[in-house]
Symmetry: C2
Subunit: 231 residues, 2 copies
């Protein structure tokens, strides 16, 4: 039962609404407009169409939320997007700061058949190159990570789970540092009042701004070791 296929534009709106909803709960017209590169007025117009299609609920002056139908489509599009990103990185060697832009264009024209082939060829991956979870075919998705590198205290260590892919320059920077999903980090020191933090990665220490660290999600957080030999 494939959902009726909507236009590219509708898909982009739903995908973006989904993202913002994850981050902020409420999806304001202005935010959506900025993220899509459209004027707020245009967004209002499109949102009305989405509401007419029962893909979002729209309360005037209050922003939108996805309906279950809208969320389903959003997840399908995101699945395409992340699977393509993974494929580009793994099979075609595209650097991870460029896969996003490329996937953005491809996601709308990927057939289900090809998606399945790519999925199988990659061995049914569960995350994209930035660590973001790939929605499953049944429309479910792993819950978002709850901890960020910026929140860790001195002495704590963790595993990098996901880095934000919104800014290619930031991705290149993280790449140079070796800050990739799966890598272990230990917080060496944290400057107070939102100052920079120093972390140890692959036996090298790096200092990075707290803001940048906010773009890194971590998992498996371990408390500051009182002893050097923990499990």
């Amino acid at each position: 039962m494939p959902s009726a296929d909507h236009t590219e534009s509708v898909q982009d709106y739903l995908k973006t609404i989904y993202d913002i909803q994850r981050e902020q709960g409420r999806v304001a017209t202005t935010v959506l407009a900025e993220r899509l590169g459209n004027s707020p007025a245009s967004v209002t117009g499109m949102v009305k169409k989405l509401a007419a299609l029962n893909l979002v609920e729209h309360e005037r002056y209050q922003g939108v939320i996805l309906t279950p139908a809208g969320e389903k489509i959003a997840l399908e599009v995101i699945r395409h997007h992340r699977l393509i990103e993974r494929y580009l990185a793994e099979a075609l060697g595209v650097p991870w700061d460029r896969v996003h832009a490329e996937a953005e264009k491809w996601e709308h024209v990927l057939s289900e058949d090809l998606e399945d082939r790519i999925d199988a060829l990659l061995g049914y991956p569960t995350t994209d190159p930035h660590g973001a979870p790939i929605p499953r075919r049944d429309g479910t998705i792993a819950p978002p990570y709850t901890s960020r590198l910026a929140d860790l205290a001195t002495g704590q260590s963790a595993t990098v789970a996901e880095v934000s892919d919104h800014d290619p320059a930031m991705l290149r920077y993280f790449g140079e540092l070796g800050l990739r999903p799966g890598v272990d980090v230990r917080v060496v020191s944290v400057a107070p009042f939102g100052g920079p933090m120093t972390v140890r990665l692959d036996d090298a220490e790096h200092t990075l701004g707290r803001e940048a660290a906010g773009y890194v999600s971590v998992c498996d957080v371990k408390p500051a070791a009182t002893d050097a030999a923990d499990q």
Copy 2:
């Protein structure tokens, strides 16, 4: 010096005009309309736009021809298309009767960077899975084949060079027969008045209609052997 990128629609028009021009010289509005699935009236409108962009020459009631600029773009699009077809078949195992439809959608969103990666990964192929030549990056292309299987006489043999990809059903049929580019054929017999011909392929004989045989281009045509032991 990349050409200004035109819309998907413009690209499709130019590509199709190029194809028809190869086959028929003159490109009539009606033919173009039918091939694109648009009404003749719409095609006239678009043709006027193409002429205004100096991509085609249009003489009223006389059809169109590509200008050098138009041909350049057409060849770029065709290069994308055929490279993708090859990639889909070779790297992703898509059956050859489906690569066309898939490539049709992907060709418009392929970046130059990705094209280069695919090209290199495939080892700079010169033909697509149907045997059609892939235009080179410099805008040149191998000349079309001149002989068709349907034109061969009894006893002649040749190598299959290219099969038409216009009809997926026909492609599946050819595939079942083993009639693929690179395979040798020998004409066993030919019925008169455009009747079917029998050919030998891979040590098996098959009978196929003359019309179908018209969709198969051949090269390396050898005359009817007077002796069984030729080189």
